[in-house]
Symmetry: C2
Subunit: 303 residues, 2 copies
């Protein structure tokens, strides 16, 4: 929010020992805690988990832009499998972005009534929540506005009431559009969150994944002027040219991604730094963080 | 998130009495609670507060689009007065959108070093928080991830630790860009939040207002590819053609806006309906709501 590029802490840091010794000399240069980005940059390779290429889907639009998503197969296997089969059957090759509702969602799919390909589960059960198991849940460690506790299921933003646990509708999470009944979403129509987390949708819709890259190719689209942000004219829709599973691509074209392990030391340091911003710009650290401001970092796997 | 336009509750409702009598007849048609939009549509005139035309600023861009903001004069009088004076001195007539950072902010202003007009407070004090007064604070009534309590100061989203109270960085709120020192933001550089609420900025930056309309003319812009989302090339910037205070416009051109009174019965009903979504689509109501999903409704004043 600074007036210039100067605002991100360039001055770096520092062990407690150095801090004390510098303090003893009454320094003119203040010392600051490490920025979250600095902590990430120093993460050991072992802190990063490789994302399976079976779970990575690359969507390319007719305007040449693209975006890449990760499927949450571990949690929503039936819907993730449907999406994978739809991709391989060419369903999304003629899909389009049909809806952009400001501060809410971007939605893409095929016209209602398009026959679904063979092999797709036509009425998948709701994959909204699961039995809570403390050893499978990494607590955020800060209050949540919606649930008893927020945290992570695997590398995914989640919440729990200590009986059930579920994925949360954070920015960039991908849900399965459906009609009124919970079993009416095949995965042929997807949306991603582009505003303040609509957490009232948690446990009401299957969250099947998240955007890994190219989010700006979804968010910077004209908002639809129809009801719920649908494009009123079909010619406003943005067509797709292809969708591919990373696992199906030749090695040279296969994008590789990693997610930071929420159980790693780096992750805890990063989270602490995010919740306690220091540096020359911040006057008062929040000493708290919302789960949707603490989504697990992901990155292209370095060579 | 429905696959069609059907998802917003069209079936309406209903007193407890009717609910019971219908239930006794084993109805085929389910009955649903009123949707938030239905409650708003039925609000009496007395529930709406007129926004002062001195606090309404209309920004017009060179591409012919515009957006309108409300200044939070009651809470940040020095910065609001600066913005008003800058508008009247023509400062924003040659401003530009210089930064669009995905899931964060859109920022506009003049090049650093542009001399500020006479009459502007060059080093306004931080207007970040104020003494908490229970009778001036309308509680949200649900947990907050960042503060002891969330709620409203006047019609503005706010939080408190029961000692101080402050405005919160919700979607569409407008902040004053500054350098490292708190008194370095004149109001000549402004930003608005376009993603999940960056609440860690609360009490670190002066929030001077909110967007009343035209938000989509800020959010649907190409993201900047420079550091922090700044446009790398000046020719990517989107120039302004004018900024005007509503109070200065002839009656026929003067936009009029209202905000719902958070102390009204309509507001409490609306908030309850938002926190407890019913209707044919929702399976499990959240029974909670985050302050940034419960911003006070505003509207053009009906004729």
């Amino acid at each position: 929010m600074g007036k210039s590029l100067k605002i991100l802490g360039k001055l770096s840091i520092v062990s407690i020992g150095l801090l004390l010794s510098v303090a003893a000399q009454k320094p003119k240069e203040p010392v600051y805690p490490k920025a979250p980005s600095e902590i990430l940059a120093e993460a050991p390779k072992s802190a990063w988990l490789e994302i399976s290429p079976e779970n990575i889907v690359i969507f390319t639009l007719k305007d040449g832009t693209s975006f890449t998503i990760e499927l949450a197969s571990e949690f929503t296997p039936i819907h993730a499998s449907n999406v994978r089969k739809l991709v391989r059957a060419g369903w999304f090759d003629s899909a389009a972005i049909v809806r952009v509702q400001d501060n809410y969602v971007v939605q893409w799919g095929r016209p209602e009534g398009t026959p679904i390909p063979d092999g797709i589960v036509a009425k998948p059960p709701a994959e909204y929540d699961w039995q809570f198991r403390a050893n499978k849940f990494t607590p955020l460690g800060f209050r949540d506005a919606y649930a008893r506790q927020a945290g992570y299921l695997g590398t995914w933003p989640a919440a729990t009431n200590n009986t059930k646990a579920w994925l949360t509708h954070c920015y960039g999470m991908i849900g399965v559009g459906r009609d009124m009944a919970p079993d009416t979403g095949t995965g042929g129509e997807l949306y991603t969150v582009i505003g303040h987390a609509p957490r009232h949708l948690d446990r009401n819709i299957t969250l099947v994944g998240r955007v890994l890259s190219g989010m700006e190719n979804l968010t910077a689209r004209p908002r639809g002027t129809g009801q719920l942000g649908f494009y009123e004219n079909p010619n406003q829709q943005i067509g797709f040219s292809s969708a591919k599973i990373a696992a199906d691509l030749p090695a040279a074209e296969k994008p590789k991604y990693q997610a930071l392990n929420p159980k790693s030391t780096t992750f805890r340091s990063w989270l602490h730094a995010k919740a306690n911003r220091g540096g020359p710009f911040f006057i008062l650290p929040a000493r708290a963080i919302d789960i949707c401001n603490a989504q697990v970092p992901t990155r292209l796997t370095p060579n």
